[in-house]
């Protein structure tokens, strides 16, 4: 007999409950929306009532398949449930369940099930859980099947919300949800790609692994010859030298992703004429150097008459100039406008000194539209924002003569670096102390 739950209803909208991991609040909705576009599913979310610190979000999808596709890509989504009923109190929840047609709260005798109870921001003891399960079965559910705790045909969850994490939980929950489990997200991937397991560690370069995992062909540049050739000083603590196979390619090979590797180049990313004028890239993803570990540099000289004697040319290490942060971002946007395909995306981290930040600090370009701006706080005064922009107009030299602009330069004040990096050094020092202990 076919399952009564989860039966496709054509294109009708159906209610689901998205259970987020309690992490990266600012990124949750952005990830969900972006994934809906990626997997091509329609999604309805009530944004007016969205509380980013609440791990539960009600949404509507047109099929369970869409939900599974979303969860196959979601790193911030813990689980997805088909929302059967909800309520402000347990009594109201039971009431709402009873109002449903019997077919929507039935498990037939030849199917197995289990019910799990979980409180957010409050630990529920076993007795309380059993009490609720029994009350549900008695009053509201027609579950005739057998209980199977390990591999049930249907897994039901009663989720009780007791407020934001860290707040004092009330005696009774603010809200209760009853849902049927549909799929889990990809939290496991975080462990799989954990830094400590990786052969090669390089900040920007690590991004390539995640992209390749999702099927992208990856290509990157770095100004540091020594790093790309695995001769740079290691980033890993207590390691004297980089291993010989510590390359980006070896890194991808480690995850069985070598076929996604195109190339890396030793190059100065500020020199856009390195590339043939042809929009090529679907996405440009970067963590520009902010001078915390890597100094921000480009090739050049302040001396207009500088020359290098012929006999030194072969082994000459080019002189590098300090590269102002605002210029990095302007260059990056100009590069993206030129070389992204239409609707391609630019994603980068913007370091922010929080007391001075405003949206006017975000660089703009006539060809690029901002899609998301998600803050990851590092401490009370500094954070970094992940900015996502989409190319919405073809690049034309005439039209975008001015190119990227910034309304208010967040980095103009010389003390920005000082304040930002002082705060950040403290964090790094604390992390290192914690790692060593």
């Amino acid at each position: 007999m076919a399952a009564r739950f989860g039966r496709g209803m054509g294109d009708a909208w159906k209610r689901y409950l998205f259970h987020f991991a309690n992490d990266h609040f600012d990124f949750k909705l952005a990830e969900l929306k972006s994934l809906a576009t990626t997997v091509g599913c329609k999604l309805r979310v009530q944004e007016e009532n969205y509380d980013k610190e609440c791990p539960f979000l009600e949404l509507q999808l047109q099929s369970e398949e869409d939900g599974k596709l979303l969860m196959q890509r979601s790193t911030l989504g813990r689980s997805l449930y088909e929302l059967v009923a909800e309520g402000r109190t347990f009594a109201e929840l039971c009431d709402n369940l009873q109002k449903l047609p019997e077919s929507q709260r039935t498990v037939s005798c030849n199917e197995s099930f289990r019910i799990q109870v979980e409180g957010f921001n409050k630990r529920l003891n076993q007795a309380a859980k059993v009490e609720r399960i029994e009350a549900l079965l008695e009053s509201s559910l027609k579950f005739d099947g057998k209980v199977n705790l390990k591999q049930p045909d249907h897994s039901f969850h009663l989720l009780e919300y007791y407020g934001h994490e860290g707040t004092r939980p009330p005696d009774q929950p603010y809200w209760l949800y009853f849902g049927r489990w549909v799929a889990d997200g990809q939290r496991e991937k975080i462990r799989q790609f954990h830094l400590q397991k990786r052969h090669f560690i390089g900040n920007t370069r690590s991004l390539l692994v995640a992209c390749a995992h999702h099927g992208a062909y990856v290509m990157g540049t770095d100004i540091d010859y020594m790093l790309l050739h695995a001769k740079a000083r290691p980033s890993r603590h207590n390691q004297k030298r980089r291993e010989k196979d510590e390359s980006i390619r070896a890194n991808l090979r480690q995850y069985g992703l070598e076929s996604q590797y195109l190339d890396v180049l030793v190059a100065d990313a500020s020199q856009h004429t390195l590339w043939r004028s042809q929009p090529m890239f679907d996405a440009i993803i970067t963590d520009p150097p902010y001078g915390i570990r890597e100094p921000t540099l480009k090739i050049g000289t302040d001396n207009p008459k500088a020359s290098i004697p012929d006999d030194c040319k072969d082994n000459h290490h080019p002189q590098r100039l300090r590269y102002h942060l605002s210029d990095i971002f302007r260059d990056l946007l100009n590069f993206a406008a030129r070389f992204l395909k239409m609707n391609g995306r630019l994603v980068y981290w913007l370091p922010v000194y929080r007391p001075d930040y405003s949206e006017a600090n975000i660089p703009q370009h006539p060809c690029l539209q901002m899609v998301a701006n998600c803050e990851q706080t590092l401490n009370t005064t500094i954070s970094r924002r992940l900015i996502t922009m989409e190319k919405i107009a073809e690049h034309q030299e005439q039209l975008s003569k001015e190119g990227a602009t910034v309304e208010v330069d967040h980095y103009e004040d010389k003390s920005f670096r000082e304040r930002y990096f002082r705060a950040n050094r403290t964090i790094i020092a604390e992390q290192e102390a914690a790692n060593n202990s």
């Binding site: 390619r249 190059a267 100065d268």
Partner: protein
């Protein structure tokens, strides 16, 4: 360095150079390394390629035999041609050698498969 990458690179970064494409290749070690065949990728990348430059590059590294003079508008369904493109774009790799600026003759070394496109501070535009 794969020939797909070569197809995107210029030496217009050098002060005064405007016709820095395509870069010449002087290979000293070339290998063919197996890569999973993905016909969709080949189809999508095709309109972005500069075919004469790719053909020239393939010839310079000794893999130009049998490449058509002009590329048909679509390669859908022609698995033979798709695989040939797959091979020269993604599998043929220049591990050691030099890239040469067509205008000035300035050479860029390729070591360990990684091209070094850095200029000296006196050469940048």
């Amino acid at each position: 360095m794969k020939l797909l990458t070569h197809n995107m690179l210029t030496s217009n970064i050098i002060k005064g150079v405007t016709k820095g494409f395509p870069l010449g290749i002087q290979p000293s070690r070339v290998e063919v390394q197996e890569v999973d065949f993905n016909p969709d990728f080949i189809t999508r990348i095709l309109p972005k390629l500069d075919w004469p430059a790719l053909r020239q590059a393939a010839t310079e590294v000794g893999h130009g035999d049998g490449l058509p003079e002009a590329l048909p508008e679509s390669v859908d369904g022609d698995e033979g041609l798709q695989k040939m493109l797959h091979n020269i774009l993604l599998q043929v790799e220049v591990l050691e050698g030099e890239l040469v600026c067509p205008e000035t003759g300035r050479k860029f070394p390729i070591q360990n498969g990684i091209p070094n496109m850095l200029l000296n501070e006196t050469e940048v535009s």
